[in-house]
């Protein structure tokens, strides 16, 4: 039994069920990633109707995993509070991580992890008891056709950056600092193509913590109602990183060579509106303390 890792994945609906197998699932089966997740605990949130199919897929992806499928049929209701429902399931998974003293890999089905990235993030989080370190990386969005380019071979970070750029999502293409019209203000990401060839700098002002070690206080934070608003999943990358920064628990990795992930995103989703470039060019509409700090770190993607 791998007591080093717990994975959390919310997945329902045909589109994301398919991504579980073709995107996340494929990358979790690459040699180094497979070794990193071997024997892990995997909590999956889905609907009752899809439970058996999801379970079958998950068992195929990580045959050694101990899989818990949580179901909630409200997920498919019109106007369902999806963020709050996901948070309910996440809270259960966090409780388990705290009890087991294991880190969690946050991994939705549209994530594709470059081979070796998961172990590198685990190593970077020094999973010593009680420190609660959490690893963030800048990641990129790519179009669904990226999946076709994956083929059957494992993909290193370097190849994944290259293929990712060939199939980049509009959200990415709108974030170049050289463009007179861009979406940086709404995306919080600015990209600079360096003159030295196959290297890009990325200023991601709201990177998500992906490999995390919880503390009891995190559970309390996530479970807290904000006025009349129930705890919601958006807390994860919107507000929680500020707590992590304040407590000195964040570790933000500066290079795709160590950890890299592509998030498959439909062409018409998450597209920041274009507007004339602002001065300074890296203005972002969000102003959380974590944003103010993370804008000061420049990552690189190498291909």
């Amino acid at each position: 039994m791998n007591n080093r890792l717990h994975i959390f994945t919310p997945v329902w609906g045909k589109h994301f069920t398919s991504l579980l197998e073709l995107a996340l699932g494929k990358s979790l089966q690459w040699r180094l990633n497979a070794a990193a997740v071997d024997g892990c605990k995997w909590t999956i949130l889905t609907t009752a109707q899809e439970k058996s199919e999801i379970l079958k897929t998950a068992q195929k992806i990580i045959p050694t995993a101990s899989i818990t499928v949580l179901t909630n049929d409200r997920l498919t209701e019109p106007n369902a509070p999806i963020g709050a429902l996901k948070m309910q399931a996440l809270l259960k998974a966090i409780r388990e991580c705290l009890d087991d003293k294991t880190p969690m890999l946050m991994s939705t089905p549209d994530f594709i992890w470059a081979d070796g990235s998961i172990q590198n993030m685990i190593d970077e989080s020094y999973p010593a008891e009680g420190q609660g370190l959490c690893v963030s990386i800048a990641h990129m969005r790519a179009l669904p056709r990226f999946i076709e380019a994956l083929g059957n071979n494992r993909m290193s970070a370097q190849s994944m950056v290259e293929v990712g750029l060939s199939h980049a999502h509009p959200a990415w293409n709108r974030c170049s600092i050289n463009d007179a019209q861009n979406g940086i203000y709404h995306a919080g990401v600015s990209v600079r193509y360096l003159d030295c060839g196959r290297l890009i700098t990325v200023q991601h002002q709201m990177p998500s913590p992906f490999l995390v070690n919880f503390k009891e206080s995190d559970l309390e934070e996530f479970a807290r109602w904000k006025g009349v608003t129930p705890p919601a999943f958006g807390e994860w990358d919107h507000n929680w990183p500020s707590k992590l920064l304040e407590e000195g628990r964040l570790r933000y990795i500066g290079s795709s060579d160590v950890a890299f992930m592509v998030e498959i995103t439909e062409a018409d989703m998450n597209v920041p509106p274009l507007e004339p470039a602002r001065t300074p060019h890296d203005q972002f509409f969000r102003v959380e303390p974590s944003v103010k700090i993370q804008k000061q770190f420049i990552s690189t993607f190498r291909y």
């Binding site: 290193s156 700098t201 990795i253």
Partner: protein, 318 residues
């Protein structure tokens, strides 16, 4: 409006001048670095006895720059009228005094300043990338820099060929010339010195003959500064040049959202030539008890020390 570029160096004494010419000047004269400096003004503060040698060397190697040399005379007159032997002045105070003048000049001439200390080696292409990353008004680019032994400047890979790429320099630094202050900063080593040294690093698995190092540098140096008037007001009130690394980033830069820390040596790599017996952080076995629990612990808790701890920079050698 595009800003001008100034390069700022304080150097005196034959040993430092030698390192400056063999290391700093050589690396800045590599093709891409040199091109990036074209049209800049290089402000060198030295002492009168070295002025002509430096002028000759720099003008020969950098025909497309404007050179300003400030020659500090053997004696200066303090504001109170007292005559002071400059050799007896604390060097840190002397450097600070000239840094303040440099900031004033840069502000007056709409310039930014690239700091080129005389013990510093810039990987090829690093200068252009640093200038690019720090193109925005007010931003200041910091780079974590390993300390290395002077012998690197005699290595054939350094002396021959047109240039040394960042990846070759990283390899030379970590495989052959790493200074003891950094050697003992490796997480888990028997005499790990990170608690006082402020640096902690680990080797990562890498394929294809590459080497990857994950580095946390709690007080990286700002090499490119886009000054704002507040900086002048800050430094004119400081007791020594140490404020540049130790207080300015924490008290000002990060709070003003101006630091841009380069997360990977692929974009920029800088190393600092250090004598074998210099800058060795003090160490006691007691430190290991703390480092065993927090491998990246550091005794200082300035805001920049706290924030930079959370940035894991990668150095890639080949």
């Amino acid at each position: 409006m595009a800003r001008n570029l100034r390069v700022f160096t304080c150097v005196w004494g034959s040993k430092h001048i030698d390192t400056f010419l063999k290391g700093t000047v050589k690396s800045l004269s590599w093709k891409s670095n040199k091109e990036a400096l074209d049209g800049s003004t290089w402000h060198i503060v030295t002492k009168t006895d070295s002025e002509s040698k430096l002028r000759h060397e720099i003008e020969q190697r950098f025909p497309n720059i404007k050179l300003e040399i400030t020659a500090v005379p053997p004696q200066i007159t303090a504001p109170n009228g007292m005559t002071i032997e400059t050799d007896k002045l604390d060097h840190s105070n002397l450097i600070l005094m000239h840094l303040v003048k440099e900031i004033k000049t840069a502000l007056e001439t709409n310039s930014r300043t690239l700091l080129a200390p005389p013990d510093t080696i810039f990987g090829e292409r690093s200068v252009a990338n640093i200038l690019n990353i720090g193109e925005q008004d007010g931003t200041c680019v910091a780079v974590p820099h390993p300390r290395i032994h002077p012998e690197i400047m005699d290595d054939p890979q350094f002396t021959t060929g047109g240039s040394c790429s960042n990846e070759i320099l990283v390899k030379l630094c970590f495989e052959k010339y790493l200074h003891q202050s950094w050697r003992a900063a490796e997480i888990g080593c028997a005499n790990q010195n990170s608690l006082i040294g402020g640096v902690a690093w680990r080797r990562l698995e890498a394929a294809g003959g590459e080497m990857l190092y994950a580095v946390q540098h709690r007080l990286p140096t700002v090499y490119l500064a886009n000054w704002i008037p507040e900086d002048y007001a800050f430094f004119i009130n400081q007791p020594s040049f140490g404020a540049y690394d130790h207080t300015w980033p924490g008290e000002r830069l990060i709070r003003q959202e101006r630091q841009r820390l380069v997360g990977s040596s692929d974009a920029a790599f800088i190393c600092e030539v250090t004598d074998f017996d210099k800058n060795i952080p003090p160490w006691t076995p007691e430190h290991l008890k703390i480092l065993h629990i927090h491998p990246d612990a550091f005794y200082r808790d300035g805001w920049h020390n706290v924030i930079n701890r959370m940035s894991v920079c990668m150095m890639r050698g080949r």
